[in-house]
């Protein structure tokens, strides 16, 4: 039996989304066409846009559909940087724990566009250092083109003080982009209330299909496009709209909003039960970000001293348990997580860490099964740790 504890990588599609997508797949029409089938597809897209806008608390016209959360991050970070550069702002501030969609985009801006990148650190619980940010804004506020801070971290689940970031940025009129991919549908997330300039989301992390994401970009704010063509989506993201995925995204978003409170409560309870169980079985293990004020309900990031995460993954996989390190791979090779390193881990302890992410299909039985094999797995992994 498969025990799937990698919901932060992708989570099963919910039935309403599968149904919506399947129905739409047999419907003809390019939403950009002017004739009857085109108008019908356009209507479906716009209804979905309105549904999603309600879920994120933004205006429908602020939504730009993309092919992924990564694409949305790229459009926002590069676009806002270029917009700032045009008026002499060359500095990009990001947190040290951003997803590679932001990290590597920033690196690209540095390498190819001459941007200056400053990374804001985090404390040992993985929470953004607001004082460092405040200092930078105070000293160099008029140089900053864009600030990009994720809403919650994909490896630790630690929620970041985005509202305070926006507050600090407002004084110097700095646009703030937020990667909200992990948070959307799991914890309250309001574009309006946070006062963000831009927000990147993805469907497949919350029950929608793979291959569809979106960027919320404040109304009236124009940024240069990365891809050019038919002029769809405010001429910021050209390309035929993916109607089946968009309607499925909306269906999943709506369901996630309805179920958020309920799911959040029982997934948090399961997580706490799981955490306590692991710490009882492996006393020297510890949870990364445990003391942070806010965490996502479903993510637990643990360090198991004396192990290597790729060994743990293999052994757990052999027991039918799917989880992850949460860190990016390079050619399939695990690298020590930049997130854990930023939290003060050394190379070795970062390589001894594992992410379990629970989701809407996780049961108490799943947790019990993992706890049942964990001592054996840890023992084997420690024996195999040759470094």
């Amino acid at each position: 039996m498969l025990i799937y504890l990698d919901h932060a990588a992708t989570t099963p599609m919910v039935d309403v989304a599968i149904k919506a997508m399947t129905q739409q797949l047999s419907k003809l029409g390019n939403p950009s066409s002017l004739h009857t089938p085109g108008r019908s597809a356009r209507k479906d897209v716009e209804e979905a846009r309105e549904t999603i806008a309600r879920a994120i608390d933004c205006q429908p016209s602020e939504i730009i559909f993309t092919g992924s959360g990564t694409e949305a991050d790229n459009i926002a970070l590069k676009g806002l940087y270029w917009r700032g550069k045009a008026v002499g702002r060359n500095l990009v501030l990001i947190s040290a724990i951003e997803h590679h969609a932001i990290l590597d985009s920033a690196q690209w801006l540095h390498d190819h566009e001459g941007a200056e990148i400053v990374m804001i650190g985090v404390d040992t619980d993985g929470v953004l250092d607001l004082s460092q940010l405040a200092d930078l804004i105070a000293q160099r506020g008029d140089e900053i083109a864009v600030i990009s801070i994720m809403h919650s971290n994909n490896e630790t689940g630690v929620i970041q003080p985005v509202a305070q970031v926006v507050e600090l940025a407002r004084v110097a009129s700095i646009p703030v982009h937020c990667d909200g991919v992990q948070s959307f549908g799991k914890v309250p997330l309001s574009f309006q209330q946070l006062g963000l300039t831009a927000l990147a989301l993805s469907a497949h992390k919350m029950g929608g299909p793979l291959g569809i994401g979106l960027l919320v970009l404040r109304r009236g704010l124009e940024i240069p496009a990365l891809s050019h063509g038919g002029g769809q989506e405010r001429e910021i993201r050209s390309g035929t709209l993916n109607t089946p995925s968009i309607v499925a995204f909306a269906a999943a978003a709506q369901l996630a909003m309805e179920k958020m409170q309920e799911r959040s409560e029982w997934i948090t309870a399961l997580r706490e039960e799981f955490s306590a169980g692991i710490l009882a079985l492996v006393p020297d293990a510890y949870i990364n970000g445990a003391a942070a004020k806010d965490r996502l309900p479903g993510i637990i990031n643990l360090t198991f001293p004396g192990t290597e995460s790729d060994t743990l993954l293999l052994l757990l996989d052999a027991e039918g348990i799917a989880c992850s390190t949460g860190a990016a791979c390079s050619a399939g090779v695990q690298r020590p997580s930049h997130v854990l390193l930023a939290m003060g881990h050394d190379d070795r302890s970062a390589r001894s860490s594992l992410r379990f992410s629970l989701g809407w299909t996780t049961t108490g039985e799943d947790i019990d099964q993992v706890l049942g094999v964990l001592p054996y797995v840890i023992e084997r992994a420690r024996a195999a740790n040759l470094r």
Binding site: D310, L314, D317, A318, A331, G332, V333, A384, L386
Partner: protein
């Protein structure tokens, strides 16, 4: 048995994994990432370490229907194989990195890790055979003599051989390719890899020069007269004839060969073909693939290159050295190479050549 199949992305290891599965074993495929900064694409027939190769290995595992992982062995490989390779050349010896990789990585780091994780052994696509004898498993030549890889495995201990599974030893390479095609493995026609996997350019001398510098030094004849200059003594191999760039011919016009490399004085000594002749070789750090060799003279064969000939000899182990006396003299023998001793087709053991005598 529960086995780890080391899958390079080549045809041999893919068929080996498939055969292990068919034999009823519980197999998991593992690709060893040996470079921390792998190239995206294969270049020529070199290497097994590119992203493209790991993709090939993954697709083979998919087709065979086994789990697949990539193990990061870049650090171990660098320390135990690459650095050793450089250090050996710097010391004037000629190492064989494939042998070192088998000894330190595939049947040490990987096998140890596999055993600790509860696996019984490691499957590879080497052309060699193991046989169960009264005293344990023994290592033998593969039936396809042109592809036989027992030489590069002659550094394995009895313990390591016990955990090694070589499913291809009874088959010819031609038939393995046919079998791969019949199994639908896309790597069936992938070219064989040769040369040194961590030198993708194939230019070993240039690669070494980058790391060891290219300090100019003298090329001397046997009497000590300087007859030329070289750019880094370590880029030469004993017995080498080409690329010496000597402008002063020998009196009789006969070719000159590298006789000696002296790293401390950065000197290369050349001489005639006859002066290359070796009849006795001495090896240090021996490894026995079965019962240890004793002081008693034994008849057998010694092999000094991966696909070299099996040379009839008398061998013994004395004063911590493996000594082989050749029936016929051999021309050009570099220290640092492995001398593998065979009893018929069985590998007795091996040692690193440290000295030779005419």
């Amino acid at each position: 048995m529960r086995l780890i199949a080391a899958m390079s992305g080549g045809v041999d290891s893919a068929v080996a994994a498939a055969r292990a599965v068919e034999a009823g074993h519980d197999v998991i495929g593992v690709h060893l990432a040996l470079s921390s900064n792998p190239q995206k694409y294969r270049s020529g027939a070199r290497g097994c370490c590119t992203v493209e190769d790991s993709h090939d290995a993954r697709r083979a595992a998919d087709l065979i229907g086994i789990p697949f992982y990539i193990w990061d062995m870049a650090k171990e490989f660098h320390e135990d194989v690459v650095e050793n390779f450089i250090a050996e050349y710097a010391a004037g010896r000629t190492p064989n990195p494939c042998l070192r990789c088998n000894e330190k990585i595939k049947f040490a780091a990987v096998l140890d890790r596999a055993r600790a994780m509860g696996f019984d052994g490691v499957v590879t696509g080497h052309y060699a055979i193991t046989k169960q004898g009264p005293l344990g498993k023994t290592l033998h030549r593969g039936v396809d003599i042109s592809k036989d890889q027992s030489y590069v495995l002659s550094v394995l201990t009895v313990e390591q051989i016990a955990g090694a599974i070589f499913p291809l030893g009874d088959t010819s390479k031609v038939d393995i390719r046919k079998e791969a095609a019949a199994r639908g493995l896309s790597v069936a026609n992938k070219p064989d890899s040769h040369d040194i996997c961590f030198i993708p350019s194939g230019d070993s001398a240039g690669w070494l020069r980058e790391r060891l510098g290219s300090e100019v030094g003298p090329i001397l004849d046997q009497s000590g007269n300087q007859i030329g200059e070289h750019r880094g003594a370590y880029t030469y191999t004993i017995g080498q004839r080409k690329g010496l760039g000597l402008s002063i011919p020998t009196p009789d016009g006969s070719p000159r060969f590298v006789l000696k490399i002296e790293p401390t004085t950065n000197t290369v000594v050349v001489g005639s073909r006859e002066e290359l002749a070796v009849t006795t070789m001495y090896g240090e750090n021996p490894v026995w693939c079965g019962l240890a060799v004793t002081e008693m003279d034994q008849r057998g064969f010694v092999q000094i290159r991966a696909h070299g000939a099996a040379l009839p000899c008398t061998y013994r182990f004395e004063n911590n050295q493996l000594i082989a006396q050749l029936d016929e003299p051999l021309l050009g023998l570099a220290t640092g190479q492995a001398m593998a001793i065979y009893d018929g087709d069985r590998v007795v053991g091996s040692a690193t050549i440290c000295e030779t005598k005419a």
